[in-house]
């Protein structure tokens, strides 16, 4: 198929960017979106132009590196997939596809479609962990019985790959689905209880400090999340936060 691509080009964080149009031809419908971007970049390199910078790593939907706002939606029009899992068969011959970086004040553009998502890492550093002594006396995980449903909910929350699609999709650029998932995966398990109060207060404080917006429950994040993280996690974080605030 032949396509027109309108891509955000920005030299670096300080430069002003703009949308630039490119034509690509003979794109197979079996290609992934990133493979299509590779074709474009080969074309650009061959003609002596600067290739489009975009994030990618595992290319199998696990690492959370690939981003891109495609036709107004993070990771494009398909559901439950990352950009690397998005197939070109989702588009038609002759389509014009708009490709922009994930937009948020907390995700500044580094170059073209690459954004700095270390705000998520700083939120994780603020409390997204448990302190376990691994000096050899660690208790076997199976020695602590956990209800199957609870374990499943924790696992569901833990499938968050931190790609930032929730922030990109949200009209408020809110990171609450990400933080909700990270808080939930520990809040649900006994191992997470020791630091529960401090965790939620610190992570929410860091989230606010980074400049993410507020959740207004539009539900866009849940729909666009490649891992299907549920809004239930935001409610759980709100509960945990209220509980922690009352405890002081």
């Amino acid at each position: 198929m032949n396509l027109t691509l309108k891509i955000w080009r920005q030299k670096d964080g300080r430069s002003k960017g703009q949308m630039v149009s490119y034509k690509v031809s003979e794109i197979s419908e079996h290609m992934s979106f990133l493979e299509m971007m590779d074709v474009l970049n080969e074309q650009l390199v061959n003609s002596g132009d600067e290739p489009v910078a975009f994030d990618h790593d595992c290319r199998e939907g696990i690492c959370g590196m690939c981003s891109m706002q495609i036709n107004g939606e993070p990771h494009g029009p398909d559901r439950g997939v990352t950009t690397c899992q998005l197939h070109m068969r989702m588009f038609k011959d002759g389509d014009t596809i708009t490709i922009e970086p994930f937009r948020a004040k907390a995700f500044p553009v580094i170059k073209d479609l690459v954004v700095d998502r270390t705000a998520f890492e700083r939120i994780q550093h603020a409390g997204g962990f448990i302190s376990v002594n691994t000096s050899g006396n660690t208790q076997d995980a199976n020695a602590i019985p956990i209800d199957k449903h609870v374990a499943d909910h924790a696992m569901d929350a833990a499938t968050c790959i931190g790609c930032g699609a929730c922030v990109a999709a949200c009209k408020n650029a809110s990171a609450m689905l990400f933080v909700g998932a990270k808080v939930s995966q520990y809040a649900l398990l006994p191992q997470g209880q020791v630091e529960a109060t401090e965790r939620v207060l610190s992570m929410v404080a860091q989230m606010d400090k980074e400049g993410f917006g507020n959740c207004t429950n539009t539900g866009a994040c849940e729909i666009e999340c490649p891992k299907g993280i549920s809004l239930e996690n935001i409610a759980r974080m709100n509960r945990e936060y209220l509980k922690a605030s009352l405890k002081g």
């Binding site: 922009e100 539009t218 209220l242």
Partner: protein, 221 residues
């Protein structure tokens, strides 16, 4: 803003003030409905609300505070949320993942606020003038004719109808969403959301019915 400085505290405050206003709306609707069913009941209930010390001295100021708080907090959140995305998308397909009502609470909210201005001008200001400024003697039968008189105007009736449609959209998202904000999301959520959605449709439709009824009822006579 001290206790309200965190994003979650603010959304909880928004939800709780919203729930309080939703409760008030239900109460207001029940009283208004009596104006269609039995004018005597409407007069006596209005007389009670207008003269009872607890209602006038405590509940009314609390309600006004609730409205102002909900509005100011909504505006503060809107400004922060707009700032959180300094550069907007060239292409943003919001309807692919969320409802219009949920994305435009500020628009429906501002229309409702403008309506409240008209509503205060129509009823609250004359009421305060009548009772507290001009110190007129209380007449327990004056309320029904006052309401009927207000809805003579097709323009006013039309404006009320438009405002209630926007109120419907505001409640459609806001009422159900408030449970999520206060952390309530469990096996009862579906039923509660269902109730909130029905409430969001029925109450504003009821208000529209009352306004339109009074408008056309007097044309008829």
């Amino acid at each position: 803003m001290g206790i309200l400085s965190s994003s979650i505290a603010r959304k909880v405050a928004m939800a709780l003030s919203g729930l309080f206003l939703v409760f008030f709306l239900g109460q207001h609707f029940v009283i208004n409905l009596t104006s269609v069913i039995a004018s005597d009941t409407f007069n006596s209930w209005s007389h009670f609300m207008g003269t009872n010390g607890l209602v006038q001295g405590i509940l009314q100021p609390v309600l006004i505070f609730g409205v102002i708080f909900h509005f100011v907090m909504g505006l503060v959140l809107e400004i922060r949320n707009r700032n959180a995305r300094a550069i907007n998308y060239k292409s943003y397909n919001g309807s692919a993942n969320s409802s219009w009502a949920s994305r435009n609470m500020i628009i429906s909210g501002l229309v409702i606020l403008a309506f409240l201005g008209l509503h205060f001008y129509d009823f609250w200001v004359p009421e305060i003038m009548y009772k507290y400024i001009e110190s007129n003697p209380e007449d327990a039968t004056r309320y029904f004719p006052e309401v009927v008189h207000k809805f003579e105007s097709p323009v006013r009736t039309g404006l009320y109808v438009i405002a209630f449609v926007l109120l419907m959209l505001h409640l459609w998202h806001g009422f159900a969403s408030s449970f999520q904000s206060v952390g309530f999301n469990n096996k009862y959520s579906k039923a509660l959301t269902g109730f909130a959605k029905v409430y969001a449709i029925v109450i504003p439709l009821g208000f529209i019915f009352i306004a339109v009824y009074h408008h056309f009822n007097q044309l008829h006579h």
